[in-house]
């Protein structure tokens, strides 16, 4: 037998010492109940490889469990909360009406605070420990881009991500596009639309204010690509760190952009930072159209910029936000009418177990309408799986969605080469303290 060196002896001793607390934790030697149950079921079916058997995962006779990791805390919590509320309004409606084939749709929810590492940990928990049927309603590009490799790793389990609240490209393209399904239009489509419209009214010097991460870069790349089609380049750029608060200053960023003498600014950020930028831009005399993408959370931004101000029109006059769902004010749209009815009837609340800070919900918002539409399509997909929902058949079920009327002015289709349901981008401006559909770019912004 080989003699251990002094270092090996010390190392083993230290390792053993550090393992003591783990050994004495409660249930250290027990397997999680759901894991044990799962394995028992697999053994009854004569299966030994856990990856080989994925049907029944996340499904019982009473429930279909979907896993959510989103921002329920921090400066962007409004996005996670509103998306959840909108989705829950529809799930509540379905559950009260008897569910899907008698099964209620249940959301297993975790908070990631819009930070990548918690999002990865939550996903691991949802897939491995909670064994949810599918992942649903994630929020953010920096979070989702980090989660995608994990979905590829779990491809044997067919763990798909449905309708994340991000328009970034990574979940729309190889190598990870096969593991996610998107409903909303992409940032590329949003930024291209904004650039096209600005250029059409003669605003060709477009600067970009963006979040210094994958989300910001995705939007920046979209603007760059759209401008290159006109032979233009981004006039100037300034960044901010993810998690910036409205109380923080964006004056330095405004000064940087002012040096490039822009005729319009496109912001790729979340509501707290973008509201701070808008405030400081107007205060420092950068009076050019300022556009935001749908991710910003329009109502949260508007609330921050107008709250306690008598001259709020000064701050919102040149504001234009792109949206990926129609205006929730337009009740002539069947899905909007249904959304408003269900939001009023069920008044969905944020998940209390992950809520750490106070939050005042909006009656209606673009984000919750998007969540509502996400849930509506998710329910349709689950229905198409029949009375024995099977994760292995999920992708095929999604591909049966063709020319599906979700209740808005655009029909939804999916296919092996089409993993994004909607393509349309809408533009909104503030009128009488609320966002309404922009009728004319020329009339609103042409100088």
């Amino acid at each position: 037998m080989r003699r251990m060196t002094r270092r090996e002896v010390l190392g083993s001793g230290l390792g053993g010492f550090m393992a003591i607390p783990w050994l004495f934790r409660p249930n250290a030697w027990a397997e999680p109940d759901d894991l044990t149950d799962q394995r028992r079921k697999q053994e009854m079916n004569g299966e030994t490889n856990p990856d080989a058997r994925t049907e029944q995962t996340g499904v019982t006779d009473a429930e279909i469990v979907l896993g959510v990791s989103a921002a329920f805390s921090g400066p962007s919590r409004g996005l996670g909360i509103e998306l959840y509320r909108g989705a829950n309004a529809y799930f509540e409606h379905v559950n009260r009406a008897g569910g899907i084939q008698g099964r209620k749709v249940v959301l297993k929810t975790y908070d990631d605070g819009y930070q990548p590492n918690p999002a990865v940990t939550n996903t691991m928990t949802l897939v491995q420990q909670d064994q949810v049927f599918a992942l649903f309603g994630y929020v953010g590009t920096p979070t989702v881009t980090r989660v995608l490799p994990m979905l590829k790793k779990f491809q044997g389990k067919n763990a798909y991500l449905f309708f994340p609240f991000t328009g970034a490209q990574p979940q729309r393209e190889p190598p990870y596009g096969d593991f996610a399904f998107n409903l909303r239009a992409s940032y590329r489509q949003e930024t291209a639309g904004l650039v096209d419209n600005f250029v059409s009214i003669g605003n060709k010097r477009i600067a970009v204010f963006y979040q210094a991460d994958a989300y910001g870069r995705s939007g920046w790349a979209g603007v760059r690509l759209a401008m290159s089609r006109y032979g233009l380049q981004i006039a100037g750029e300034a960044t901010y760190r993810r998690g910036a608060k409205f109380s923080g200053s964006m004056r330095r960023q405004v000064e940087i952009l002012k040096q490039s003498n822009p005729s319009a600014v496109i912001c790729i950020g979340s509501y707290a930072a973008c509201a701070a930028f808008l405030r400081d831009a107007v205060d420092l005399g950068l009076e050019v159209p300022i556009a935001n993408l749908s991710f910003v959370g329009s109502e949260n931004l508007l609330k921050l910029i107008t709250e306690g101000r008598d001259d709020s029109r000064r701050y919102t006059n040149l504001l234009v936000n792109s949206q990926v769902v129609p205006s929730y004010e337009d009740t002539s749209i069947p899905a909007v009418k249904q959304y408003r009815e269900m939001m009023d009837r069920y008044d969905p609340q944020p998940p209390s177990h992950v809520l750490k800070e106070d939050y005042t919900s909006f009656s209606y918002s673009f984000v919750s309408l998007e969540g509502f539409l996400n849930a509506k399509l998710m329910v349709e997909i689950l229905r198409r799986l029949g009375d024995q929902p099977d994760r292995n058949k999920l992708e095929d079920a999604v591909f049966t969605i063709s020319d599906f009327d979700i209740g808005i002015d655009e029909r939804v289709s999916f296919g092996p080469d089409r993993r994004q349901g909607l393509q349309q981008v809408y533009y909104t401006v503030v009128e009488s303290g609320r966002f309404v559909t922009l009728k004319s770019w020329e009339g609103r912004f042409a100088s």
């Binding site: 490209q169 990574p170 989300y215 995705s218 960044t239 901010y240």
Partner: protein, 246 residues
């Protein structure tokens, strides 16, 4: 605490000795830590830059730039790395980690150079920047800036700890020396007092049994003083000058 005059010079000597030790070891420490850390940082930066460059090829050619940004965002979490930027073969910035914007010094610099550059960016600090080509340079380059302020901080910490240790040893040494000096000086004081008493009270019984019983140099000195005193008394009685009877 009164320091004996005899040992004051010794204490001054000790103080200077400690000061020389402290200064020389600090200088050596600064040199060693600076040299090693700078070399290690540069080597690590080069390794990281190469890793990013190798990983970027596929992303640059096949994927969206957000994937590239996501990649560099993971590396920026490593201690010491202050900024990362990726430029195209034409020098265009494709992804970076600067907030609130790309510093003018970097925006205007030559991105084709692969040499290590020392940069001083106003408001940001001092940096060592290394580069690594992507696809032999035809797809651009990755640039990584390491904060030399962190090296200075580590040096400061190391020197601070060293000075703290030496100062502690010095203070303990000084107090120990004073205590030892006092311990050594006490019997001498007794002998001096005894000699003075002998001179003053020659006709009385001035013997100090405790002192005379000591078998060290102090005892011998005391006995010698007593002997001289007795000899002087004897000579005086005979009327001869002291010492001539021997």
């Amino acid at each position: 605490m009164k320091i004996q005059k005899l040992f004051q010079k010794t204490l001054v000597g000790i103080f200077f000795l400690f000061a020389v030790i402290s200064l020389s070891t600090s200088a050596l420490c600064i040199y060693t830590v600076d040299t090693h850390l700078s070399a290690e940082y540069e080597s690590n930066s080069r390794g990281i830059a190469k890793t990013i460059a190798d990983s970027s090829v596929d992303i640059l050619l096949n994927r969206d730039l957000s994937a590239l940004q996501s990649l560099i965002d993971q590396f920026i979490e490593i201690q010491g790395i202050s900024y990362i930027y990726i430029t195209s073969e034409h020098g265009e910035f494709l992804a970076h980690t600067f907030v609130p914007g790309i510093p003018t010094e970097i925006a205007q610099s030559d991105h084709s150079s692969r040499a290590t550059v020392e940069r001083n960016l106003p408001g940001m600090g001092d940096f060592v920047e290394v580069s690594s080509p992507i696809l032999a340079g035809v797809a651009g380059a990755v640039h990584i800036g390491m904060d030399t302020g962190l090296i200075a901080l580590k040096i400061q910490r190391a020197v601070g700890q060293q000075v703290y240790l030496i100062s502690s040893i010095f203070i303990i040494g000084v107090f120990s020396a004073i205590w030892l000096v006092r311990l050594a000086a006490k019997p001498i004081d007794s002998v001096i007092a005894y000699a003075a008493r002998l001179a003053r009270e020659r006709n009385k019984d001035s013997s100090d049994d405790t002192l005379l019983a000591r078998d060290d140099e102090v005892g011998q000195l005391a006995r010698l003083f007593l002997y001289f005193s007795m000899v002087m008394d004897f000579d005086k009685a005979r009327g001869t000058p002291p010492g001539e009877n021997t």
